[in-house]
Symmetry: C2
Subunit: 186 residues, 2 copies
């Protein structure tokens, strides 16, 4: 298939450029591919927005373009009829997740999705600690609204987050956690 190759190629580039997140994003893309193959969920990583400056339309060739900051989250789609929307980040920090990883537009987007009744969350991997957590958008927003600090302590993920273990297929079975959360919503 043309598209996934394109995606992986692009992502590797962008992640190298961002110099973080490669493993987590690759694992999530593989997991989403698995979910699609199983007809369980249709969740995709959005292409990174690129501002085109010079394009040769006859050759379908871009000769000057720049990466743009996304104003929404990286992943969205549908699972069990519900709108799913999340952002995935890695941090080397052992003690906290720096909020500089999430742009203000993205925080606003997460608020909007929750308000509209969607299922919104973060997946954060603490690479040095080798731990990956799913944090519900509601818990992320309430931390931001109740704190002035520039980072979310690791403790907060231990208290409020859900641990995501690496498995074989899917690599990260985050929908198992979403099932629990959806149960809680009912």
């Amino acid at each position: 298939m043309n598209y996934p190759d394109g995606i992986k190629k692009r992502e590797n580039n962008i992640i190298f450029y961002q110099n973080r997140g490669m493993n987590l994003e690759k694992e999530l893309n593989e997991s989403n591919e698995y979910y699609r193959e199983e007809k369980k969920a249709y969740i995709y990583k959005k292409p990174t927005p690129i501002k085109l400056v010079k394009v040769d339309y006859h050759k379908n060739l871009i000769t000057e373009g720049y990466f743009e900051k996304p104003s929404t989250t990286d992943y969205n789609g549908i699972y069990k009829g519900k709108y799913i929307d999340f952002e995935a980040k890695e941090t080397k920090s052992k003690t906290s997740f720096p909020l500089s990883n999430i742009h203000p537009h993205q925080i606003e987007h997460i608020r909007n999705i929750i308000h509209e009744g969607g299922i919104s969350f973060l997946i954060v991997r603490f690479t040095t600690l080798g731990q990956t957590y799913l944090l519900r958008g509601e818990d992320f927003i309430s931390f931001i609204d109740q704190n002035t600090r520039k980072s979310i302590p690791y403790r907060y993920f231990e208290q409020k987050g859900f641990i995501l273990k690496d498995t074989y297929r899917p690599r990260i079975d985050y929908l198992k956690i979403i099932d629990q959360i959806m149960e809680g919503i009912k």
Copy 2:
């Protein structure tokens, strides 16, 4: 805001390259912006996937990239808690909508979204006739499954589709039609 400018710039380029769809896509982006401002729905056009070949990461500059065919639809998001997913196309034809406008991957995607319980549709503008229709994904798929022809006759849009009139704000109030469709689902 940085992002919408970026989007418009990119879209204008891509649409010029595709040589169709500019007006409809601009009107839909304006409508989605209006819906967001009104906190009514959060629906975005996905960035067009671009395969990166040469990137100067220090300058954040792409010097060689190619447009890729999307394997999903152009627009998705959330409205009244429901997952919304659609594709928008323009055709100059007066008699039919050529199916060559929709890639096989996209048809498969539309099937998947319907199966998963999402709200999927096409917005097709017949530019010469000055008519824009919303066609439910279910009606699009059933035509494809029951016909071998390479295009959907205009008559089918008259019979099964919903006319979208241009208004001031939003430019195209397609969510009014979605309300009717959601009523029908209940």
